[in-house]
């Protein structure tokens, strides 16, 4: 026990590798797939195979989409006196590096979908084995339902050994490329959130089709699909967790359990925002240095140039966001509740991500705005990170409710 907030030493190799991959594999194709929206980045197949290999060898330290699973008695490695630096820290740190490379490409990484995180969080051991090695997208949002995911209208009706799913899902990241989709549907709309369950649906299941792909502001390398379910029959064993609609059932099963996935994935999205912003800041720092502007850390901002002062402010905000991200992951590694801290991290990283990337474009002027550099791309990519997996305002709601001790009925 001691207060030490530097990056953990044991992940130095992992983070270094992720940085090299981001620099040498993602950056060279970053602009290519930004321009060629909806083209499949086949370069990622080889990378995904390499990541699988790392995971099997244990060299990945448990990082990745499956790293959010909280197993009892999991060993954090060479940890002293109970302090654990484990898979959650490894995940946020390596995702940060990959997103320093390219957020869209990281989101397109085979077998690392948000659906994989959901499976890792909610599935029982049998399901975990059955869905090992799949690439799962996550389908929650509907045309009329966004942040209020308890109101989803997609239905699942039990018919013999199958659930029959009907509804329309939008904004499904990797919805076209993934081989499976985790779909949220209600067993009985009258019963509210207790009846909302998630189902793993394999691509090619009759009754499920990708309707269209979105054209987006940023993360264009990642496909965002609309998926229609029409009498889509899914084996009933594909319902993740318990089929009970008892609202009093233990957490980890029902809607609360599904929502708990977000406690695990929010630090990951914070990591994406931090990585993207760090990319912009790194380049801007160098471009400004070329123009004769360098931050003197011992002198207050107001005694330096406006550009240097701004750079100092951005760097401070980014480091604050990064530490909140590390804190949320560290709490998860140590099996402590982190819902509040996860939302703090995502709220701060989301807004800082936008501020940093947009400010970097401003600081670099026409150089920043032009497609000749990647700064304008990062300023477009970062916006989604303050929206998906819970918008800025949803994070503020969660934090406010927890800090003020208010229920969702009191603070709506």
């Amino acid at each position: 026990m001691t207060i030490e907030l530097d990056d953990p030493k044991r992940f130095r190799t992992l983070v270094g590798q992720a940085h090299q991959v981001a620099m040498n594999m993602l950056r060279p194709i970053s602009r290519k797939y930004d321009l060629a929206e909806h083209a499949y980045p086949q370069e990622l197949d080889m990378l995904a195979a390499m990541i699988d290999g790392l995971a099997d060898s244990g060299a990945s330290e448990g990082a990745g989409a499956a790293g959010v699973r909280r197993e009892e008695g999991a060993d954090g490695g060479d940890n002293d006196r109970g302090n654990k630096n484990g898979a959650n820290l490894a995940s946020v740190m390596s995702i940060q590096e990959m997103c320093w490379g390219d957020v869209g490409l990281l989101l397109s990484m085979p077998r690392q979908g948000l659906g994989n995180s959901a499976i890792a969080s909610v599935a029982d051991d049998v399901q975990l084995a059955r869905f090992d090695g799949v690439w799962a997208a996550m389908a929650i949002t509907e045309p009329g339902v966004g942040s209020d995911s308890a109101n989803i209208t997609t239905t699942a009706v039990l018919d013999g050994d199958h659930y029959v799913i009907n509804g329309e899902k939008i904004f499904v990241t990797s919805g076209d490329r993934a081989d499976h989709v985790v779909v949220w549907a209600t067993l009985d709309k009258e019963l509210g959130r207790a009846a909302i369950k998630s189902f793993v649906v394999a691509k090619g299941t009759p009754g499920m089709r990708v309707e269209r792909l979105e054209h987006k502001l940023g993360i264009r390398a990642s496909d965002t699909a609309t998926i229609i379910f029409e009498d889509c029959r899914v084996p009933k064993e594909n319902l993740l967790g318990s089929p009970d609609v008892d609202s009093g059932s233990a957490g980890g099963q029902g809607f609360a359990g599904a929502m708990a996935t977000f406690d695990n994935t929010r630090p990951l999205v914070a990591a994406m925002a931090v990585g993207c912003a760090a990319a912009a800041l790194d380049l801007t720092r160098e471009l400004l240095a070329g123009a004769g502007v360098e931050v003197d850390y011992d002198r207050p901002g107001q005694t330096q140039s406006a550009a240097a002062a701004k750079l100092l402010q951005l760097e401070s905000d980014l480091e604050g966001a990064r530490l909140l991200m590390l804190q949320a992951a560290w709490l998860a590694d140590n099996r402590r509740p982190n819902s509040l801290e996860a939302s703090m991290a995502k709220a701060k990283a989301g807004r800082v991500g936008s501020d940093v990337t947009l400010s970097c474009v401003e600081l670099c002027g026409a150089v920043g705005y032009s497609e000749a550099e990647l700064l304008e791309k990062w300023a477009r990519d970062s916006k989604i990170l303050d929206i998906f997996e819970g918008t800025q305002q949803i994070q503020q709601l969660i934090v406010a409710r927890r800090v003020l001790g208010l229920s969702s009925a009191q603070l709506r």
Binding site: M1, T2, I3, E4, L5, D6, D7, P8, K9, R10, N79, D80, N83, N85, L89, V295, Y297, D298, R299, P300, G301, Q302, T303, L312, Q313, E315, S316, D317, E319, G320, A321, L323, L324, L326, Q327, W330, E341, M344, A347, K348, Q393, Q395, Q396, L397, V399, A400, R401, V403, L404, G405, L406, Q410, L411, R412
Partner: protein, 458 residues
């Protein structure tokens, strides 16, 4: 021609020199003079004004510095002093204080809650820390927290993290009183960190003296100066070499409890590099005047004027190449970050029950997102400030480079800390603006972060 400048309105009363008076302006200015004189006599304020207490007003009142006790020279000149070892690096990410640190924080938190907070309002108004608070601070050993055991202190290793946690806990009680109680220990810590054997043996025994026998001295780290766009690394105060020492000239501001201080650490430019000098308060050429400010008033801030102050060759604390000075500045900024975090926590602790109790339009105002989101942002930025501060502290304690980490923490604590002070008042509305609630004091105190240099150090 000589009359003209005095008829111009600018350069005084916060009026820019570019302003001019028209005939109406002259008339109003004349009436104003008359009204002021009349008013003072009519309500009997004249007497009061003339008797103005040194600590509250700054109507030109100045005095000699306090006659210091005799610091008997001891130890060996030139021999390096005792240094606390750096803390052990685990290489792990960890936000858990050690058991010793937690025990200490618990003690200080109790002191801050039971003693400091109740005294804060009156101390702010009086511009003075009450003797009981100062004495209790001595009893819990605040001045010697940063000293290694060999020097009469309690620290087994480099104390930056412990000092940070203590400063945070104290400021949760009150920032002004935190500065008042931490100021002497800051000088002791500085001597522990950079003093020669002689300097340590001469000055430190007084700080660790038995509270019942002898009062530990007040002491102050004087780095700030009354300059616009002040760069602490280029102080206007100068040191010039004389035959057997140095001659110091300049003005220092925001010096906590300067009128009581028996020992100053003064920053001055020597041969182009900033250097720290130990100056005893009885040295001729020192004058101190009250310099009350917007906040941090309980720390009795003063302005210290040095006129041809002679310091011996043993008066330099640390190196003369600017490295000691820079480290001092960084450690001082770290302490201010911790104070900002503690004060921010006080604001959050205070507004939380207020907004959930206070009703408007038939329900608690906390049920409104515009109110609740302000509290959420306050909590988020506060935690980010805290982690940035802890990271810098951890690096300092481990003996690692921490200049950048401190700069990032200070930037956040100055900007977001002030926002917390601002929102603290806003969330209470009109009630936040009156002294019935402490949020207006925290608002004034938090403006000091990023402005005052020196005064405290961890």
């Amino acid at each position: 021609m000589s009359l003209l400048p005095s008829l111009r309105p600018g350069g005084r009363h916060g009026v820019a020199t570019t302003e001019t008076r028209d005939p109406i302006g002259y008339l109003v200015a004349g009436l104003s003079r008359l009204a002021q004189a009349d008013l003072l006599d009519r309500v009997g304020l004249r007497k009061h004004a003339e008797q103005a207490v040194f600590t509250i007003t700054r109507t030109g009142f100045s005095t000699m510095t306090r006659a210091s006790r005799t610091f008997a020279r001891a130890g060996v000149a030139g021999r390096p002093g005792v240094r606390a070892p750096s803390s052990q690096v685990t290489g792990q990410f960890d936000i858990t204080p050690t058991e010793d640190q937690q025990l200490l924080v618990d003690v200080v938190t109790e002191f801050a809650t039971e003693v400091v907070r109740p005294a804060a309002g009156a101390a702010d108004a009086a511009c003075e820390a009450p003797p009981e608070v100062l004495r209790s601070a001595l009893e819990i050993g605040l001045p010697i927290l940063g000293l290694p055991e060999e020097l009469g202190g309690v620290a087994e290793e480099r104390s930056a993290t412990t000092g940070t946690l203590v400063a945070e806990a104290l400021a949760r009680g009150d920032l002004g009183l935190a500065v008042a109680t931490l100021a002497p220990g800051s000088v002791a810590t500085a001597i522990g960190l950079w003093g020669t054997d002689e300097q340590q043996q001469t000055y430190l025994p007084a700080f660790s003296a038995d509270v019942n026998q002898e009062q530990a001295p007040a002491a102050a780290l004087a780095l700030s100066e009354p300059q616009v766009l002040f760069d602490v690394l280029r102080p206007h105060t100068t040191a010039t070499r004389t035959g057997d020492g140095y001659l110091l000239n300049g003005v220092k501001s925001s010096v906590p409890r300067g009128a009581d201080a028996e020992l100053f650490v003064v920053g001055a430019l020597l041969d182009g590099a900033p250097v720290l000098f130990l100056v005893e308060s009885s040295t001729p050429g020192l004058r101190v005047e009250a310099d009350p400010a917007m906040g941090v008033r309980a720390a009795s801030l003063t302005r210290l004027t040095l006129t041809e102050v002679q310091v011996g060759s043993d008066g330099v604390l640390g190196t003369t190449d600017g490295t000691t000075y820079a480290e001092c500045v960084r450690l001082s900024r770290l302490a201010w970050c911790a104070l900002a975090v503690g004060t921010g926590q006080a604001v959050l602790d205070y507004v939380t029950p207020y907004v959930t109790d206070r009703e408007a339009f038939g329900e608690p105002i906390a049920h409104r997102q515009s109110v609740a989101f302000k509290v959420a942002d306050l909590a988020i930025e506060l935690q980010a400030m805290r982690l940035l501060t802890y990271k810098a502290a951890g690096r300092a304690a481990a003996g690692r480079e921490f200049g950048q980490a401190v700069a990032l923490a200070r930037e956040a604590c100055a900007r977001h800390g002030m926002q917390i002070g601002l929102d603290g008042v806003q969330l209470l509305g009109g009630h936040g603006f009156v002294k019935e609630h402490p949020v207006e004091r925290w608002y004034r105190d938090l403006r000091a972060v990023g402005v005052i240099e020196g005064a405290v150090l961890v």
